[in-house]
């Protein structure tokens, strides 16, 4: 993975994907190190997806779902929040900074928030430096 601040953004197709599209449409020009993976709901994102993203060389992970209390699937975004918290704990246990993963709630219209979160994570990752797990680490 080139660069030192690759961000994997798991984006809910009901909100975050649209926000990302809109950010492009209105030319918000955010850092190009983010890779959006479309999911049907933030609740689809498994802790394992987050861990494995780091194993595969991501430097940061964003989980982006609907606004609080406005989840298309009622509890998906709150579960995602809890899982991100859990992932933080698991990563810390493994010696990886918990700040590299973050839950974001946004509405489909919030293009600015999408761009801002990507920029903020990029800045944070610059501060933290690359993860120590470059080149995928040893695989099974």
């Amino acid at each position: 993975m080139g660069g030192n601040n690759k961000i994997v953004a798991f984006c809910c197709e009901n909100s975050a994907c649209a926000a990302a599209d809109r950010a492009g449409k209105i030319r918000l020009y955010y850092p190009d190190n983010v890779r959006v993976i479309r999911v049907p709901c933030a609740g689809r994102v498994d802790v394992l997806h987050i861990l494995k993203a780091f194993e595969k060389g991501a430097d940061g992970v964003l989980v982006m779902g609907c606004q609080e209390e406005a989840c298309r699937h009622l509890t998906g975004n709150t579960r995602a929040r809890e899982r991100v918290k859990y992932a933080e704990i698991l990563l810390k246990e493994s010696g990886i900074d918990g700040e590299r993963v973050r839950m974001v709630n946004l509405a489909p219209e919030m293009a600015h928030k999408f761009a801002q979160e990507v920029s903020e994570m990029t800045e944070r990752l610059k501060g933290l430096g690359p993860t120590p797990i470059k080149n995928g680490g040893p695989q099974r």
Binding site: N14, C17, R27, V36, R44, H49, K52, A58, H73
Partner: protein, 549 residues
């Protein structure tokens, strides 16, 4: 079947200039299983589509990867195209190189576009076909609650030719309609309205009314609910395809908000209506009447409308002086502004407080002391009667019913809707709708709107007598399932149940028609027994894997 991928790059009429398309083609052509990489300028136009179709057919590919604009815009059309070519529509994978790449960054983004394509290709290799199938649905509808919303729902359903069964707890229909003095903006008094609605229901086709009846259990899923109804000590099951809940609200005054108890002179809106309807009980006409709103927090639309109606009624019937103490009057419901103006015009005074007024009783009168923030003056009013606000509370039994239905309650104890902005009358469980005041504070015009959207929702689901589903899009592997019930407990749509697969084994099974495809179950299953075609763990991780390759 060997994977044979056809890749179509669309440069959006040549407008995606910061992407070097030939370079991408050169890079991708070498990948295993890639039959060809085409560059097109307008896949979304007719000729573009035609070209795409002929390439798919001539090269006999079985996976289609498209790099174009947002899938929100194009996915549906491409899927239909694949279907018309007898290719499973799930064999499509899209890379959004426009909104999330070319348009999002200023500099050369060929590298990023290439990565997005690799992600899409990796996913495409793993896609499995999804079959669509038809399932029959029961066309009978249950309506619970015989107040305005329930009656209205029943009537509309019957007009659309759907059979409706209306279940009412009380011995007669009407709900709050039979209790209210007036409802502005309906062009008729509540009593007249109730009369005409009752007649219409009696005369209506395809309508069955069960009074003094209650729902005790709801099982099954959309298209096939089994509901147990208790009536007169007897309980019986009935089958329905959809259910509309219109259980209304319960009016309650909250004396603890006032730190004083209701008395002869401090009465509720309901008491006032009773007096208005039977004025002979009154010793003498009250000369001064105070109304008070917003004491504990800001009042609801419902409470505001009630106060405005009742203040106008006392003015009209008795000619009393009427004063309304309030913090912020809610006039955003239908006709409320006009009602307020009318009240002002007839001489009803509105006093706006910020600090809670002091209320005391002396010599058979009620004294209200407040600081009016507009006048900037301390006001002391001695009135014959003080009418306190009424709050809409969830009706009794809401909690019990919510657990029967597996539908959450909001912080106020009302039914919690699915996303209130996107799907206001949906309950989270497909085929169960919530209308009117049972989902919170609503006035009658909003309730009518609710009824219209719920009835439309019911029609969409049931009108054709069948539904088309993607079979086993989300699927439980019966060998891996440990029947731990986790998925059943977490499914926000109540779409999973336990079924017996043989004499000794029970496993979770997803009901395709009720499943809304969120994937929460797949992410939480501790046995990794659930997968979600299109978003399987493997497919998601294959996308991750492509990053930085």
């Amino acid at each position: 079947m060997q994977v044979k991928i056809g890749i179509f790059l669309c440069d959006c009429g040549g407008s995606l200039r910061n992407i070097d398309f030939p370079k991408i083609r050169g890079n991708l052509e070498k990948l295993e299983g890639v039959a060809f990489v085409d560059i097109s300028h307008n896949l979304c136009l007719e000729e573009g589509g035609k070209a795409l179709a002929s390439r798919i057919l001539s090269e006999d590919i079985n996976r289609v990867v498209i790099a174009a604009c947002s899938p929100e815009l194009c996915e549906h059309n491409f899927m239909r195209l694949l279907e018309s070519l007898r290719l499973n529509p799930n064999f499509l994978s899209i890379a959004n190189i426009r909104e999330q790449c070319s348009w999002a960054h200023k500099e050369d983004v060929t590298g990023k576009a290439l990565e997005l394509l690799r992600m899409a290709i990796n996913k495409a290799r793993l896609l499995q076909p999804l079959e669509r199938k038809e399932v029959p649905v029961n066309q009978e509808v249950l309506v619970v609650g015989g107040g305005f919303s329930g009656m209205e729902s029943t009537l509309e359903l019957s007009q659309l030719g759907l059979r409706a069964t209306l279940v009412e707890k009380g011995s007669a229909l009407g709900g709050k309609l039979s209790e209210l003095e007036g409802f502005y903006g309906l062009g008729a008094s509540p009593k007249e309205m109730l009369g005409s609605m009752t007649r219409a229901i009696e005369e209506g086709k395809n309508i069955e009314v069960l009074t003094s009846a209650e729902v005790t259990r709801v099982e099954g899923e959309v298209g096939n609910f089994t509901v147990r109804i208790r009536r007169g000590g007897e309980e019986f099951p009935r089958s329905f395809g959809a259910i509309i809940f219109a259980t209304g609200y319960r009016a309650g005054i909250l004396p603890r908000d006032f730190e004083l108890r209701p008395s002869v002179n401090i009465i509720s809106q309901r008491n006032l209506i009773e007096i208005l309807q039977a004025p002979e009980k009154l010793e003498r006409k009250p000369e001064t009447i105070g109304f008070i709103l917003d004491v504990s927090d800001e009042s609801s639309r419902l409470a505001t409308l009630l106060v405005l109606n009742n203040a106008l009624a006392v003015k009209e019937k008795w000619g009393s002086e009427a004063y309304v103490f309030c913090r912020n009057l809610k006039v955003d419901s239908d006709g409320a502004e006009k009602l307020y103006r009318e009240a002002r015009a007839t001489g009803i005074a509105f006093l706006k407080f910020e600090k809670k007024p002091q209320i005391s009783e002396e010599d058979g009168r009620v004294k209200v002391e407040a600081k009016d923030v507009l006048l900037g003056e301390e006001i002391s009013l001695s009135c014959d009667i003080l009418v306190v606000e009424e709050k809409g509370l969830p009706p009794e039994g809401t909690e019990a019913l919510s657990s029967i239905l597996n539908i959450g309650l909001d912080s106020q104890g009302f039914y919690q809707n699915e996303n209130v902005y996107l799907y206001p009358v949906d309950s989270g469980r497909k085929g169960i709708f919530l209308v009117g005041a049972c989902r919170g504070d609503l006035d009658i015009s909003r309730a009518s709107m609710d009824v219209a959207s719920a009835v439309m929702g019911v029609c969409e689901l049931l009108a054709s007598g069948k539904a088309i589903v993607e079979a086993e899009k989300v699927r439980v592997d019966p060998d891996k399932c440990r029947a731990c019930l986790t998925c059943i407990r977490v499914c926000p749509h109540g779409a999973i149940r336990l079924v017996r697969v043989n004499t000794e084994k029970e496993v979770a099974q997803i009901y395709d028609l009720a499943c809304e495809g969120c994937g929460i179950c797949a992410a939480i299953c501790p046995a990794k027994a659930i997968d979600f075609e299109g978003y399987t763990d493997e497919q998601i991780l294959a996308e991750v894997e492509a990053i930085g390759e």
